[in-house]
Structures are given as structure tokens and as C-alpha cells.
Amino acid sequence: MLKHLLSGADLDAATATLILDTAGEMARLAGREVKKLPALRGRTVVNLFYEDSTRTRISFEAAAKRLSADVINFSAKGSSVSKGESLKDTALTLQAMGADAVVIRHPASGAPHTLANWIDGSVLNAGDGTHEHPTQALLDAYTMRSRLGRVAGLSVAVVGDVLHSRVARSNVLLLATLGAKVTLVGPPTLIPVDIGTALAPGTEVSYDLDAVLPTADVVMMLRVQRERMADSYFPSAREYARRYGLDGPRMRRLPDHAIVMHPGPMNRGMEIAPEVADSSRSTIVEQVTNGVSVRMAVLYLLLGGMDR
């Protein structure tokens, strides 16, 4: 098993499948009266969040607590970071406190890789800049498997702001490893030209959502990052919603079994219509539930065994 989880590319098919299987067992434990397991008793997990996050931080916190680990939450606001402490000094502080694992979210791509060189414990990437978010890709794969029975052979359309999306990058890597066919869909300004060949050969690119929908098993909508709207990647929010938003009529063009995913937080009425978000095809709430099980599996598999 791995020591760190930094990228979707760290996982081969066997390891990814082991994580998904373990997550399945963890999910069954969530239905019991006592949801706590003693597997990580005495271990310390630090949530080191340099960016705002609700679901990822809470999800990691719930996962670690259900495995009986001690959780320390660190958010950059109101900490010594606002006094100018560097990532390295923060890392050394955590190291000195005996952190067995650090879950890090950072606005700079590559920060978790750098951190992994400084500390002895495991590092879990919970989102770095526009780079990667591997546990999101794992929970997405888990959701596909639980809804559709498999991942291999599925046609997955990833729609929206691929350029800035760490969710898209990790998903492309992991889904290719697990044998799914990924098509990236969005306006040309938001899809890097060489992204398919750079990440996983076989990844396709399309600028026409309507052409992709009839053959998609999974449509994964990405959040339009409003904070980047001023950079004129597209003329207006309304035009974006018209061309790349998933509304009711578009949803009805999907095959009957197809599911609609969204990593959240979503902009209702922008990339996804409320009618779609609340439909039975939508897995948005399931994804949050599955996130806890998948993160429990990852924490157990990284920390449950012998120290290395």
C-alpha cells in the first residue's frame, strides 16, 4: 500500500479497487448502531486547510473520527499563517506534535508533494490549486460503481471548467486507470488543448455537449468558478448556461440508466438546473455520503498498518 495519496496517478487498478472495496465495507458499518471503529486509535490526523472548504474538511474529519483517530483542525485563517509562517515551518510544527497523517488543501498546485518531503507521516492531498483532488475522484468512482455496478467500460462526460478543475484532473487519471472512457466537454477557452495526451491517452475532447449526451453513462458537471468569471473565458453566464448547462430537456436526452454527478458546491441554474440537481438521476447527496466511506478506507489503508 502507499504511504501518501497525492495524485490520482499514484493508484494502480489493484490499489484503487482495494480502496473501493474497503469503502464498501466501511459504508456497511455506517448503518450500525455504534459507528465508531477502533482501527486508528491513538493516531493523530491533522486537517491542514489553507483554502475554504466545507464538505471535504468535514468529510475527512468524520472519517478520521469514525476510525477513532484524534483529529486536529487547522485552518489558515486565525492561525500563525496570518502572521506570516511558511508552509515548511507549519509542517515542522505538526511533525513535532506527532501527526501521523496530514490532510492538506492548499491554493498552490504541488504543495502536498512538497509537504511530503518534509514530514514523516502520510500526506493526503485534499485539493491543491488547479492540480488534483484524488479522494474526490475515488468517491466519484465509488458512486459510479454503486449506481451502475462497474466503472470499466463506462462513458463519462466531464463538463465545464476543466482548465481550473482539480476534480477533473484526478478523475481523468483514475477513470483511465479503471478502464472508463472519459470525454472532456466545455468551451475551448476552458479546456487545455493537450490535456488528453498529457494526463491519459484515450481521453477525448468535445466542445458540443448535445453531441455527447446520448451515449454518456455518467455526466459529471463541474462548478463554474464564479471568481474567474471576470477573466472572460466565456461571454456571459447566460450564454454558458445555454450551451454547457445541464437542464431538464438535455437530461431527458441521456440514456435511461445515466447518472448526473456534481462534486459541489453547485451553482443552481448555472451549470446545473434545479430540476436536474433534484432528480433521481442526480447522485449529488450520495457523493457526500460516499465521501466519508471512501476517506475512511483511504485513512485505514494508509495508517492502519505498520509504520514505515
Binding site: M1, E25, R28, R32, E33, V34, L37, G305, M306, D307
Partner: protein
Amino acid sequence: MAYPQAAQPPPVPPPSVKVILTSAELARVVDRIAHQILEKTQGAAGTVLLGIPTRGAPLARRLAARINAFEGIDVPVGVLDITLYRDDLRRHAVRAIGPTDVPAEGIDGKRVILVDDVLFSGRTVRAALDALSDIGRPSSVQLAVLVDRGHRELPIRADYVGKNIPTALAESVRVTLAETDGADEVKLIGGPA
């Protein structure tokens, strides 16, 4: 110039293998435990059999099948994976966890009989007791094992024992079952030839 040859260790003789239970004997032992369970629990009412993976699970199913054959009672059977409750998790590479499958009626107020293949240190059973207490509150817990090989490290004993085998610590007991290994047999490996 050639490097001097490293001294070769003396060849290790293959460990001795002694068959303790053949397939037919194993079947008779399972029958006897099934009868003992019926006798000691006054007809196995309110009883749940929980097998501890890997080989406790098929053993529990066999016991239930034999109880059904003798008395026509359906005893609920389940599987209890104890991996996450082990006290030696940090001494080994990480272990994959297996399925836990508790009968739908639950274990609250029931007599739970844990079923395992070999009783040795008692640490597996301790972990199973911890796991049980997180699932519910049985009225009582009993333990059935195919082989008791001694060397307990915890104050634990079995209520139903298929066969007591006095062993040395250096020896190992190997149980194979048709469901998991293709054939029924119990062997003692590594004893004095």
C-alpha cells in the same frame, strides 16, 4: 578474481506433516458440535451462529446445516469480520477488511455462538467480543472451535471444542475446508518427525 563463496546454510529439512483429522473425521466432529449446541442450548432457540473469517464462516454454515438436518430448526448464520478490532494491526502491513454480515434480526438479546477454526492465543476471540459489543447486546456469547491447540495468552476458553491438540509453539495447525481450500483436512505442521 572471483569472490569467495558465501558459506551455505545447512539445508533445512522439510517440516513434518501429520494429519490430525481426515475429511470423514472432520465431518463427525462438526456433527458432534452441532449435537452439543442443541443439547447445551435446549434446542438452539434464540441462537445466532457468527463465523469469524476466513474458515469460521463456512464452519458456522455447516453447523447450521447439521442442526437443521437433526432437528429441522433454522438457526440464523452470519459472518463477523474482526480485522479492524485486532490488537496487532500495527505489527503487520495493512490488512484488507472482509465483509461483516449479521443476520437481519440482529443479535440483541440473542445467544451468539462465535465459530472459528483454531483457538490459539485467544486474541482473535477478544477482538470478536469487542466487535460484537459495537453491533448489539447479546444475552450471552459462546465460542465453538474446531481445534483447540492451547497456548492461550488471554483468559478465554471455548464452550464447544472439536478436538484438543497439544502443540508446541513452533508447530502450526492448518485447517483446510472444501469451501475455502478445496478439501477438508486438519494437519499439524512442523512437529518432531
